[in-house]
């Protein structure tokens, strides 16, 4: 049987089957099969011989013999006897097997007896003379029995082709018949005709009754009133039924004219914008994608609408990018731990909240109200740049969207951020940058005006901007060393840049504001050791509930931030060197000394954010970003941000902060932080109710911000650093929204006193924070805690989250991932050139950073040059970022931005403590201010450029910058008095961590975004918080407890930590 089967198979053409071996016949046709059979045989080994052996190797023999299986045959053997049986099968040697065989008797018609029949007989081929199969249908077993060829083959035998005969038209027939057919209008036979015909012809009488009385009852019509009523009723019902949608729908089903192609296959667009947005993103051009992606990312449907809205604003290509940038910034802010870091104190938290708020639905909502006010001011500018939804209408909506879908929002933010950064970078960069600048500048300018407006509205702003600018500029320099530097670089265009920075600052402020709120509540919560998520949630809730406080805090922060950032951006750049002084000045100008401290802390936070922002900005537009960052830094950081920054950190990474607090000094620190936060919050509150409102939102946003930061994190490496950077980015974005809020906040500036007090405390705490954060470089315990919180807040949480969630891979190997991402990004958008440039930039940047530290200014020039290059690249990045958003690359870009921002900040802080940091700060200051700006600018720019150029470079930069940034931010502003430098350094360290965290945050942000999408506000918070914790963990072991809360983050965080832990410098080195 097997052999047969095999043979059958072969004949069948199916090469399969062990028996197939038979296929390898000698027949030419069988060659192929033989080969196959051999192959099989080889595979089978033993069977091969069988398969190939004998008849089985003969394809045609197998086929024909198999075709006759089951037929009766007469088998004649050598001795002349004839056996009849049913052909059962055959062997390889052509042995024949007959079933029910019997020896044929001489008598023809006598059937075999039962006893004559043998079950089966095997005849050896050597005994067989002839086997005669009679009346065999060779097509019986053909599978293609019903193919045309098979059918025709059968018929051919029977039916010879008929000879076709021409038809003469049948004239012999009735000529009229044809015509009658043509002229006969009747439709066939009339029934009556048929009946008549049948009756006449066949005698059939039809019983057909047209009334169908057998089936129904005839309707008896009468004129009675009742009948008329019933008739009317019937008609009415008929109309109703026929008018019903159901009826129409069902009728439409039957009478749908659309083709199936139209209904099921054709791609119809434009019907569902919201839903389709995501889809559209795929189809939308890169430029549009950027916008849309953000939207989509932010909040799927909601985002899409927002996006649409935004898109309108952005219409101009530049504007679009700007918008994106704004979006990104916002996102960054939201996710941006930077803010938190900047605002580690209360102010920072508020921002973070705001950021998160945007990202987080809850905060945004709460914030939205306040934001709108703030937005209006900022909008003018923002709309231009941010036209993206983030802008006016967009902002609120976008914010909510982001909040709703943190993951997506973040993503979008990132993408947006990245785009912005690119644009910014481009702006800063040579030719391209200018245009971008122009566009962005316009936006920036607009934003700047808004700040001024805000300031006007909230006096603080103007004051901050004007007065604060200088002070802030220093501060900013310190804080947003990276950003400031960019701004400084851009400073030439400073006007625009400052504006951007202002916007950024505004955004930052908003985050800060949020942070405060979050910080306030969060800190308590943290103290309570509640899970980060809880804290986050609580923060958000608190923010919402305690809108007043948060708002105040945020307001204060916002004020400080807003003031700081706008003015800070420019000033900071130049004044980086004088970060401390600036911080003091800021404090003085903005608020009291406490405020200064806070400012410092804020600055540090801001710086971190600022750096991030710078990073982003640098990436997008170094100057713009830097400006934005610086502004943010100055704004948020300076006034309330410093405090807030600490708070924000706590808030953002409530867990983180809590952890950090716990870990670091946990007790005192936490208490101090909390107090600080509270104070900060209070201050903010006192400062501006608007801010407070913003803050509340900010709180929620902060968590979200974290999430959003994750987006920034999307820029892988930077993300971590960017965690802060992201904040910075957020700041930029926020600027639009936040800026508005900030502006509002400014009015509240009065609160400053309170803020100051908090700041005072904060300042102390801040030092701790820096210390914690900057443990490596500068370990001022007070600063440490603060910094940690900051770190946590900013990038850590958000970025961490983002990396983890968004890009698990990045988390695993944050730096590598980031680097890779960057690279990828760079390659894609940047193309080979960008990468190359980036690489150089990185190196140069690194060099610069050191150089800058040593001689920041000297370095700065190169940095600037690079920045320009970077800017170009950044522009590309912007695109890349967009792409990145789509893919990991976006994150990297964002990260770069954050890192850049962070770097700047670190630089600023570092200047004091860390050489690089200080130089950078100096440079930044120079950038913002004349002298320092150079160095800082270079660094920042370089960093930014590096970031822009390549992710790796960015990372390196970040790593390098990260340390510096922390130092910059923390040291100068907050700690400036006491250990501003140290703190700054610490801050720098933190930045690295933050950077790492930022990365994680980015991932986290993605995750958060995802959560957001799912509508998981808490998750976002949790994620953000987790990142922070992670940050803390990295910085300090204490994080341990919190990790539990951070569960999601852990992996990423762990990696991040490792990265973070591995000194940022180390990373830099590695990268280098």
């Amino acid at each position: 049987m097997k052999p047969q089967a095999g043979g059958n198979r072969k004949p069948g053409g199916s090469n399969s089957g062990a028996a197939a071996a038979s296929g390898t016949g000698g027949a030419g046709g069988g060659v192929g099969r033989q080969n196959i059979g051999r192959g099989r045989n080889n595979a089978k080994g033993p069977s091969t011989a069988v398969a190939l052996s004998g008849v089985y190797a003969n394809m045609r023999m197998v086929h024909v013999l198999t075709s006759v299986v089951g037929t009766k045959c007469d088998l004649k053997v050598k001795n002349g006897l004839i056996y009849e049986g049913v052909f059962k099968t055959y062997g390889p040697e052509c042995d024949i097997v007959l079933d029910a065989a019997h020896r044929k008797s001489v008598e023809p018609n006598v059937g075999p007896r039962r006893e004559d029949i043998v079950e089966s007989i095997i005849f050896k081929s050597s005994d067989v003379v002839v086997v005669h199969f009679k009346d065999v249908d060779l097509n019986y077993a053909k599978k293609d029995n019903f193919t045309d060829s098979a059918v025709s083959a059968r018929l051919n035998g029977e039916h010879k082709e008929k000879d076709l005969e021409p038809w003469d038209g049948g004239e012999q027939h009735i000529s009229g018949s044809m015509e009658s057919l043509d002229t006969d209008l009747s439709n066939g036979w009339d029934p009556d005709e048929m009946f008549k015909y049948n009756e006449e012809t066949y005698g059939v009488k039809s019983t057909y009754d047209s009334s169908l009385s057998s089936y129904t009852v005839p309707l008896e019509r009468d004129d009675s009133e009742e009948f008329l009523k019933r008739e009317a009723r019937a008609s009415q019902l008929a109309e109703e039924i026929e008018a019903s949608a159901t009826y129409k729908a069902r009728v439409a089903l039957e009478n749908d004219d659309r083709s199936e192609e139209e209904k099921y296959t054709a791609v119809v667009r434009g019907e569902r914008e919201l839903h389709s947005l995501n889809r559209e993103n795929k189809y939308i051009p890169p430029s549009q994608r950027n916008r849309e992606p953000g939207m989509s990312w932010g909040a799927g449907r909601q985002n899409s609408p927002r996006l649409v809205q935004c898109s309108p604003g952005p219409p101009a290509p530049r504007s679009g990018p700007h918008d994106y940038n704004a979006m990104d910034q916002r996102v960054v802010n939201g996710g941006a731990h930077p803010w938190p870091s900047r605002c580690p104190s209360p102010s920072s938290r508020p921002p973070s909240r705001y950021q998160s708020g945007p990202t987080n639905s809850l905060p945004p909502r709460a914030a939205t109200p306040t934001r709108p006010p703030s937005r209006p001011p900022s909008r003018p500018s923002r709309p231009l740049s941010l036209p993206s939804a983030h802008g006016s209408t967009g902002p609120l909506s976008t914010m909510p969207k982001r909040l709703s879908s943190e993951g997506p929002p973040r993503m979008s933010p990132k993408s947006q951020r990245t785009p912005r950064p690119h644009r910014v970078a481009s702006c800063r960069g040579g030719g391209p940058p200018p245009p971008d600048y122009m566009s962005q500048g316009a936006s920036v300018e607009v934003s700047a005006p808004p700040p001024t407006r805000n300031s006007s509205s909230g006096g603080t702003w103007s004051s901050v901007v004007s007065g604060a600018h200088r002070p802030r500029s220093p501060r900013q320099n310190s804080i947003g060393g990276g950003a400031p530097s960019p701004s400084c670089l851009s400073s030439p265009q400073a006007g625009t840049v400052p504006v951007d920075s202002a916007t950024a600052s505004t955004t930052a402020t908003s985050p800060t504001a949020a942070n405060p709120a979050t910080n306030l509540e969060a800190s308590p919560i943290e103290e309570a050791k509640e899970s980060r998520v809880l804290e986050m949630r609580q923060n958000s809730p608190n923010a919402n509930k305690e809108n007043v406080k948060p708002i105040e805090a945020s307001a204060s922060i916002a004020r400080s931030i807003g003031k700081g950032p706008p003015s800070m951006a420019p000033d900071h750049r130049k004044q980086i060197d004088n970060l401390k002084k600036f911080s003091v000045e800021f404090r003085v100008s903005l608020i009291s000394l406490p405020l200064c401290v806070f400012r410092n802390s804020e600055k540090s936070t801001v710086d971190s954010t600022g750096p991030k922002v710078p990073m982003e900005s640098t990436i997008s537009e170094e100057t713009s970003t830097a400006v934005s960052i610086t502004p943010t830094g100055s704004k948020s950081a300076t006034p309330s941000l410093s405090p807030s920054s600490a708070v924000p950190e706590q808030k953002r990474g409530p867990d983180v902060t809590s952890q950090g607090f716990q870990t670091t000094s946990s007790l005192a620190n936490a208490a101090a932080k909390d107090k600080d936060e509270k104070e900060e919050k209070n201050d903010p509150v006192a400062e501006s109710v608007r801010k407070s409102t913003l803050n509340p939102n900010a709180k929620e946003f902060n968590p979200r911000v974290f999430c959003s930061p994750p987006k920034p994190a999307t820029t892988p490496t930077q993300t971590r650093p960017q965690g802060q950077p992201s904040p910075s980015i957020v700041v930029q974005q926020p600027p639009a929204v936040y800026g508005q809020t900030m502006f509002q906040m400014y009015p509240l500036t009065p609160v400053s006193p309170g803020v100051q007090v908090p700041h005072m405390t904060m300042s102390q705490t801040k030092p701790y924070r820096p210390g914690k954060g900057e443990n490596a470089s500068l370990s001022e315990f007070p600063n440490m805690p603060q910094q940690r919180p900051d770190q946590h807040h900013p990038p850590g949480a958000s970025t961490m989250m983002h990396p983890a969630t968004a890009a698990g891979p990045p988390i695993v190997a944050p730096s590598p991932a980031y680097s890779t991402q960057y690279f990828t990004c760079s390659p894609q958008q940047f193309a080979s050139q960008p990468l190359v440039q980036q690489m150089p930039h990185y190196q140069s940047q690194h060099v610069f950073s050191p150089m800058i530290q040593g001689s920041a200014r000297m370095i700065t020039p190169p940095g600037h040059a690079q920045p320009s290059l970077v800017s170009s690249s950044t522009t590309q990045y912007g695109e890349q970022t967009h792409t990145m958003y789509v893919s990991p690359t976006p994150i990297p870009q964002q990260f770069p931005h954050p890192s850049s921002t962070l770097h700047p900040h670190p630089q600023h802080p570092q200047p004091s403590a860390t050489p690089t940091g200080q130089p950078q700060q100096g440079t930044q200051h120079g950038g913002s201010h004349p002298a320092p700006s150079p160095v800082q600018h270079p660094q920042h720019q370089a960093a930014a450029q590096a970031i822009h150029l390549g992710n790796p470079p960015q990372q390196q930069m970040y790593s390098a910058l990260a340390p510096t940034p922390p130092s910059m931010t923390p040291g100068p502003n907050p700690q400036s008095p006491q250990a501003s430098f140290p703190s700054a350094q610490q801050a720098v360290y933190i930045h690295p961590q933050q950077m790492q965290h930022g990365y994680n945050p980015n991932h986290m942000a993605h995750v958060q975004q995802a959560h957001m999408q799912s509508g998981m506000v808490p998750p976002h918070h949790g994620t953000p918080s987790h990142p922070p914790t992670m940050m803390l963990m990295a910085t300090q072991a204490p994080a341990g407890p919190q990790p539990g809360t951070l569960n999601p983050i852990p992996v990423s965080s762990a990696t991040h930590y490792s990265y973070t832990l591995t000194p940022v410098q180390g990373h830099h080195q590695q990268q280098l």
Binding site: Q4, A57, R60, G80, V86, D99, V110, V128, V131, A141
Partner: protein, 217 residues
């Protein structure tokens, strides 16, 4: 092709030496598929047909011939062992490349084999039961039309409804009155009518042959 000859030349029974057989393939060692070949077996049977397959190692040649029953859509297949064949002659060589081999439905073939075997065994069972030749013939006739028939002892059961008992005449058909019974009766009636006609034909033919023989003799 045109001529299908299966003449039995018992005279040629003289066995042909294997060597001859081997050498027989005269024109070429191989028979190309599609060519027409004629040969004479060691039993004196003349075979001719179209080469369908040839396996040189086993010396097995497969020929396709027009159906012996004259049915156009059927054909006879002859498997010849060239070891016992002589006078192999290639009438004409292949003109066209052989058609590709179609895949076969193995399960269908297996079912056919099983069915054929069962039928034969069933028939043998009836024969062994002592059923008369007439009965067997009737059974075969009915079986051609109605597959659902079987032997139960000497009775023919058709469709589990009609029982035909010996001597298998129309009146012996019993069962539930209906179309089935009437239909079976028609078949039986026609069967014997045909048998009678055949017998008469044979008789006449036999008579004629006898006459002829007598005349000739």
């Amino acid at each position: 092709m045109t001529s299908r000859r299966r003449t039995r030349l018992r005279k040629a029974r003289a066995p042909v030496s294997l060597a001859e057989k081997m050498a027989a393939p005269g024109p070429g060692e191989y028979f190309s598929v599609g060519s027409h070949v004629s040969c004479i077996t060691c039993l004196g049977q003349r075979l001719q047909g179209e080469v369908v397959a040839f396996d040189y190692p086993s010396k097995m040649l497969t020929l396709k011939c027009p159906s012996s029953s004259g049915k156009p859509n059927l054909s006879d297949v002859i498997l010849v062992n060239l070891a016992y064949v002589s006078d192999v002659d290639v009438i004409n060589d292949r003109t066209e490349t052989p058609p590709p081999l179609a895949s076969l439905n193995i399960s269908k073939l297996a079912n056919r084999a099983r069915t054929e075997k069962e039928d034969k065994l069933s028939q043998a069972y009836a024969i062994s039961a002592g059923v008369s030749v007439e009965g067997q013939q009737l059974f075969q006739t009915i079986h051609k039309t109605i597959k659902d028939c079987k032997w139960q002892e000497k009775n023919i059961i058709v469709m589990d409804d009609v029982v035909i008992s010996p001597p298998y005449q129309v009146e012996n058909c019993k069962g539930k009155e209906g179309s089935a019974l009437s239909h079976i009766r028609k078949i039986v009636e026609k069967h014997f009518k045909d048998v009678e006609s055949q017998k008469s034909m044979q008789r006449t033919q036999a008579q004629q042959t006898q006459k002829d023989s007598s005349l000739s003799s």
